[in-house]
Amino acid sequence: MGWGERYDDAGEEVREVHVLAVDDNFVDRKVIERLLRSSACKATVVESGRRALQLLGMDEEMKGCCDLHGSQPKVDMVITDYCMPGMTGYELLKRIKESSALREIPVVVTSSEGIVARINRCMDQGAEEFLLKPVKLSDVKRLKDNMKRREAQPRKESRASAARKRNLEDEDSFAGPSSSSSTTSSPVSHGDRPLI
């Protein structure tokens, strides 16, 4: 309620990827919001790290997560500008990664300056990616694809295991040796095989 859930024709809730974007510049906020919505993401856009933490259910003073009766929307990703007055994007990243409740949320940092020390600092703190501004549609698409790939990971492994199992069963039914050498790659590399 209030967060724009969407429903398909059967009345089932369709969950879009929900991105929380943080930027103190209001032109940038308008652009990132449109970029995200164009990429079929649900976008919540705020102007400060403090506001972002509030939305994530984290109170600055309490330094913990207070679940306001479960009214926090599930946020799938945070995209934050680095240079902001008050709480910087780096500080927001740090707060999220230090929180047991929030640390799994991928945080992308954006900046108009690709200063190496800055990039390293953010990546060391657990940033998902560091993007140079202005953020493009192709950046958002890539982030979304990476997220989906990561969510699909557990399913991917079980499908590959099932395929491996089928290969082994097929081998048992073959008369001759070595004809199936191309299908019996080692278990260690199966993660690299493309999805069947």
Partner: protein, 150 residues
């Protein structure tokens, strides 16, 4: 002027804005984000940019006329202006902000004042040109002509 002529004029004018460096590919990105669900997106963003820039230019003029100049504050304003001009593809405004920041870092008042004039000039130019661009677009759409693809 009929739709075909207007369309041609718009295409030529747009090409000129790009070739003379007034606009860069970020402007094209904005155009690509515009669709039937958000038919006025570009005008809306650019209007925000105009509002924001005018506010920042006023603040910059005020700050540079103080007895005690706060270079940090000035740098922060220029950083904002550089950011929003970059986000709309206002390339020459963005470029003029870069040298401005250098003079801020060097605490060079004369340099800053000169840069402020330059930024104001570039802003005034791009504002003019974008208003002409939107006017052409609007006239084309009023004739029922199809807009050129970005």
């Amino acid at each position: 002027m009929d739709a075909l002529q207007l369309r041609k004029q718009l295409i030529e004018y747009t090409a000129e804005l790009f070739s003379e460096g007034f606009l860069d590919e970020q402007f094209t990105q904005l155009q690509q984000l515009q669709d039937e669900t958000n038919p006025n997106f570009v005008v809306e963003v650019v209007s925000l940019f105009f509002q924001d820039s005018e506010r920042l230019l006023n603040e910059l003029a005020k700050s540079l006329s103080q007895q005690e100049i706060d270079f940090k504050k000035i740098d922060a304003y220029v950083h904002q202006l550089k950011g929003s001009s970059s986000s709309v593809g206002a390339h020459r405004v963005q470029r003029s902000c870069i040298s401005f920041r250098d003079f801020c870092n060097a605490k060079n008042i004369e340099g800053c004042l000169e840069c402020l004039q330059k930024v104001k000039q570039e802003y005034s130019l791009i504002k003019d040109k974008l208003e002409t661009f939107f006017d052409l677009e609007q006239r084309l759409s009023a004739t029922g002509g199809s807009p050129p693809l970005p």
